[in-house]
């Protein structure tokens, strides 16, 4: 294996042309997989030195542009009131543990597309855009289209996730992320990200290989529980050693109810 740490995106694109080359961001997923012998890339292209991948900026349209190399800790530390970014900040706070949050990046999480990861669920709920770039240019892909399957995304060879764009969400809406995991800090068994005002928009994780998006859900308890029951019945939740599909179906209505209830508290505040 060889290792390169280019200082610019252009150099990175070139480095990624090589056979079986991969980006290295925080390494919090990639190095773990390498240590377990699950992957052994021929080349690692570290994104650590690329300034263009850093920084969090407010865009003219009110959305927040989060550079791909922004760490979970940096997102968790955001104090924002707009529902979209607030949802991301809340989500980042429940990803793993402090040491992982200190170096794991939003770009890495998005590119990795672990079906149990937290950011993808929140990004789908927030109607975020994933900005990806390569030598041939930049595209912006809606989060709901970006995640394609288990560890599968719309990224093409030698494309880099450069940023995530998070729209503010409806005026006065609140946000919440509800995560169920076997022990604290662990990957989710099931999770619900909610942006809620008069109606709720949801991202739901654990019920398909990619997050499911629901929109225009009524915010009464009955409507939420009903939406949960309907989704539980129609989806194919993961069925694994961490939890059965039946359990995931069983808790979904309540998770949705809780996420939206918490979001609405934020909305009123």
């Amino acid at each position: 294996m060889d290792y390169l740490a280019p200082a610019t995106l252009d150099d990175a694109y070139r480095a990624l042309e090589a056979e079986d080359a991969r980006c290295l961001a925080g390494g919090q997923s990639l190095v773990a997989m390498m240590n377990l012998g699950l992957v052994s890339p021929a080349r690692l292209v570290s994104l650590r030195r690329i300034e263009a991948l850093r920084g969090i900026d407010l865009q003219p349209d009110g959305s927040l542009r989060i550079g791909a190399m922004t760490t979970h800790a940096e997102v968790a530390a955001l104090t924002v009131s707009a529902a979209g970014p607030a949802l991301l900040a809340q989500t980042a706070r429940v990803v793993a543990y402090p040491a992982v949050r200190a170096w794991g990046t939003i770009g890495g999480s998005v590119a990795h597309a672990d079906p149990a990861a937290d950011y993808p669920v929140a990004l789908v709920a927030a109607d975020a855009l994933i900005e990806v770039s390569s030598a041939s240019g930049t595209r912006r892909i809606a989060a709901r289209d970006f995640f394609r399957g288990l560890f599968e995304t719309a990224l093409e060879k030698a494309e880099i996730v450069t940023a995530v764009l998070v729209p503010p969400g409806a005026q006065g809406a609140g946000a919440a992320y509800e995560k169920l995991s076997p022990v604290a800090g662990d990957f989710a068994i099931a999770s619900v990200a909610a942006i809620a005002g008069r109606t709720a928009r949801l991202g739901v994780g654990g019920y398909a290989t990619t997050p499911i998006r629901l929109e225009g859900i009524g915010v009464s308890d009955d409507a939420l529980l009903e939406a949960g029951r309907a989704l539980a019945a129609s989806s194919e939740p993961s069925d694994d050693h961490r939890a059965s599909a039946a359990y995931r179906r069983r808790v979904l209505p309540e998770l949705i109810r809780r996420a939206v209830r918490t979001a609405l508290i934020g909305a009123r505040a």
Binding site: L180, A184, E254
Partner: protein, 767 residues
């Protein structure tokens, strides 16, 4: 005379804590030696298969490969504990996925693992049995066809896949049930829990010019490792030396392991030092687990709450090799009465082979399984009787001078005090605020355990400067025995602990000790230390009497290493005594005291016992635990909010260490109760072989308040009255939590771990 500063009962920091805090404590993986090779293992991909042949050429051809061992290299009889059914690498057959089939030593870890994967085996896959039922089904594939030829220290079992079976009985169970007004009967199921000590197993084997092998091991007994390695390698024990490193946790999982023998074999073959440290994944796959168990239990009582009878059947899933299955089963049966006065009890048990990782000793040794069923059933009985469960326990609890199940007399018993203490502590604690969507429940469990077993010894030696060299074979696996031993010795001789040195464990030098297990170190080895130290005191007093020309009875030890004439300021120091003994008369003062547990054994007139693996156990300890839980009605998640754990330790040598054992044991028991589970897929592959899949509780999963309540009821057979606390603290957690969940929700869980899913299902099926 002023009372000397007592080391016992104070809590000086652990002797080695400083080294651990600054990262200088030496664990196995920290060893580097010139020319050291690295071992890698090849393991079986089949749950059950015949090995038809090996192809080693590709591996041998890799530059840097210095030695390879496979089952084809082994001859002679099999090794193991009570039933010799194992070998360090598989021979003839593989019996679980992950079983070691070959090992390689090479110049660096990468080369070693490349070579290991280059080894090819031809297998003939066989049908596998993965559960108790499959193992016992008529016509089931048999794991050990040649069982009859194995060397066995006990009989019982050996037919089909039955490793061992036995019965313990007292009274007349059938007749007693006929007199009961209320009878409860149910079946419980428990899972495979892994020790998950933070340091994966490992060792370094070195070899000298004469071919003698030295092993540096993460282990629970140098003597046990030495014996096992000698057996596997066909060497006399004199040619194997085992040295204990600092051990990063053991909990029962790190007594003899195949990896010690493999490293020794490779070192002997390569004539170079070899390091074999398991990855976390390998440790999960090839060390040992707690026995999964199925427990059927029936208990009957009179309307007034007097429990008359209990009938128990325990079936243990022992995995592919016998290991400690026979004694774990026997101990589970002996503990299945619970610490109650029940006159009529019958406990029958079987341990069976299955095509999975061997199950073995793990903190509690069968007691956690038996107590989960027993203490849950007491609550069910209480509810049927309409009696408060704490009152029911108090009414039936053992008292001093009762007998344990099996007939062993129990002189001291403070069980009722333990129960009262946790009950009162919980009642008096400021109540926690209720939480929306969560149901609060309180649960109790009591337990007894033993502290004892087998043989041990201690040696004390007076140095020229009057300080003391203490040596035992007791390996400190984190529980604090080094410090406790020194405290006991220092106290017996009235010297500050700084004047006592403690030798690391080395089979060449340390007096024999069976192992760090059975909550026995403080009781057994501590007792040997106390007796040896007191004998040394007497030898010194005899010298002093000569030197001061007086009678021994007129002398006394004074703090700081001096002997004084009673009522007079005249003294001689330990230093002068040492000098006299070394250069003038008497010879060096070296005292060794060794003994084998000498308590009264089982009573054959009282109890009929078939084929137990031991004649007597140890002294009994008692405890009670109380927990408060919150159960999330929507998700089924259980959070333990607070716990109180009252345990009789006889005498707390180091109270802070005792508290640490209680808190740590409780949390390990809580993990057992709620999250920890090893799982295998239909092909017998362990699917929880990382810490990402096998979850253990982190700090946020644990209650911030785990209140240890230490009771001291000195044991008369120990010079300072101490008993063990290593294991009991784990035993009560699962049933106490189950009872609290039931108290909160009305749902009774009988399967471990009590996952959110099982909690919700149990809530659904409430009648």
């Amino acid at each position: 005379m002023s009372d000397p500063v007592r080391a016992i009962g104070s809590s000086p920091p652990r002797l080695e804590a400083g080294d651990k805090a600054i990262g200088r404590a030496q664990y196995v993986d920290d060893i580097q030696r010139p020319g050291m090779l690295y071992a890698a293992l090849l393991t079986s991909p089949h749950a059950h298969a015949r090995i038809l042949g090996y192809r080693l050429d590709a591996a041998r051809a890799i530059a840097g490969v210095k030695a390879i061992v496979t089952g084809a290299d082994l001859s002679g009889s099999r090794s193991g504990g009570i039933i010799k059914d194992e070998s360090m690498v598989a021979r003839g057959k593989v019996r679980y996925v992950g079983e070691i089939v070959a090992a390689v030593a090479a110049s660096d870890p990468q080369t070693a693992s490349r070579a290991a994967t280059a080894i090819e085996l031809d297998y003939e896959p066989l049908d596998a049995v993965l559960t108790i039922d499959e193992a016992l089904a008529p016509g089931a594939p048999v794991l050990h066809e040649e069982s009859a030829s194995y060397v066995k220290a006990i009989q019982g079992g050996g037919h089909g896949n039955v490793v061992f079976e036995t019965t313990v009985a007292e009274g007349d169970v059938e007749r007693a049930f006929a007199q009961c007004d209320v009878i409860v009967e149910n079946t419980w199921q428990t899972q495979a829990q892994h020790n998950a000590y933070l340091e994966p197993g490992g060792c370094v084997a070195d070899v000298d010019a004469s071919g003698r092998i030295t092993l540096y091991a993460s282990c629970q007994s140098v003597h046990h490792v030495q014996q096992r390695v000698a057996e596997e390698l066909g060497e006399p024990m004199a040619r194997i030396r085992a040295i204990a490193m600092r051990v990063g946790g053991g909990f029962g999982g790190k007594h003899a392991s195949n990896i010690h023998s493999i490293a020794a074999w490779l070192a002997r073959a390569a004539r170079r030092p070899v390091k074999l440290v398991l990855s976390r994944m390998q440790d999960f796959e090839i060390q040992r687990s707690r026995h999964p168990a199925r427990i059927w239990m029936k208990t009957g009582a009179r309307r007034d709450g007097m429990i008359l009878a209990r009938d128990v059947r325990i079936t243990l899933d022992g995995g592919a090799y016998a290991d400690e299955s026979p004694p774990v089963l026997a101990f589970a049966l002996l503990m299945s009465r619970g610490p109650y006065r029940i006159a009529n009890v019958r406990a029958r048990g079987q341990a069976v082979y299955t095509n999975k990782l061997r199950a073995g000793s793990f903190r509690g040794f069968g007691n956690p399984q038996a107590s989960f069923a027993g203490e849950s059933q007491i609550d069910e009985l209480a509810s049927r009787l309409g009696i408060n469960p704490v009152e029911l326990r108090l009414a039936n609890a053992m008292r001093p001078n009762d007998t344990a199940f099996g007939g062993q007399p129990v002189a001291s018993c403070v069980l009722r005090e333990c129960i009262a203490r946790v009950r009162d502590a919980q009642r008096e604690a400021p109540p926690l605020a209720p939480r929306n969507g969560r149901r609060r429940g309180v649960g109790f469990a009591v337990m007894s355990h033993i502290s004892g077993l087998m043989g041990t010894a201690a040696t004390v030696q007076l140095r020229t400067d009057g300080s003391i060299a203490l040596s035992t074979g007791c390996v400190d696996i984190g529980q604090g025995s080094d410090t406790a031993m020194v405290q006991i010795c220092a106290d017996a001789l009235s010297v500050p602990i700084e004047r006592v040195s403690y030798a690391p464990q080395d089979s060449d030098a340390s007096p024999y000790n069976w192992k760090t297990a059975g909550s026995r170190s403080t009781y057994m080895t501590g007792r040997a230390v106390a007796v040896a130290s007191l004998e040394m005191r007497d030898r010194m007093l005899a010298h002093a009497a000569d030197m001061m020309e007086c009678a021994v009875v007129d002398l006394e030890l004074r703090p700081g290493g001096v002997v004084g004439l009673k009522g007079v300021p005249k003294t001689v120091g330990f230093r002068e005594i040492a000098m006299r003994s070394l250069f003038h008369s008497g010879g060096p003062i070296v005292v060794t005291h060794g003994f084998v547990f000498d308590g009264t054994g089982f009573d054959p007139k009282r109890a009929s016992i078939h084929q137990l693996a031991f004649a007597n156990l140890g002294v009994y300890t008692f405890g009670a635990q109380c927990v408060e839980v919150d159960v999330d009605e929507g998700t089924g998640q259980v959070e333990v909010r607070r716990a109180w754990c009252a345990h009789d330790v006889g005498r707390a040598i180091n109270p802070v260490s005792c508290e640490g054992q209680i808190q740590g044991g409780f949390v390990q028991g809580m993990g057992y109760a709620l999250v920890e589970a090893m799982k295998w897929n239909a092909e017998g592959w362990l699917i929880t072989a990382t810490l990402a899949d096998y979850k253990v509780p982190g700090v946020l999963d644990c209650p911030p308040e785990i209140h240890p309540i230490i009771l001291e009821d000195p044991d008369p057979t120990h010079p300072v009255g101490a008993k063990g606390i290593g294991e009991p603290s784990l035993v009560g957690a699962a049933p106490a939590i189950a009872n609290a969940i039931c108290n909160a929700t009305g749902a009774r869980l009988r399967t471990l771990p009590m996952t959110p899913e099982r909690v919700l299902n149990a809530m659904d099926s409430r009648s």
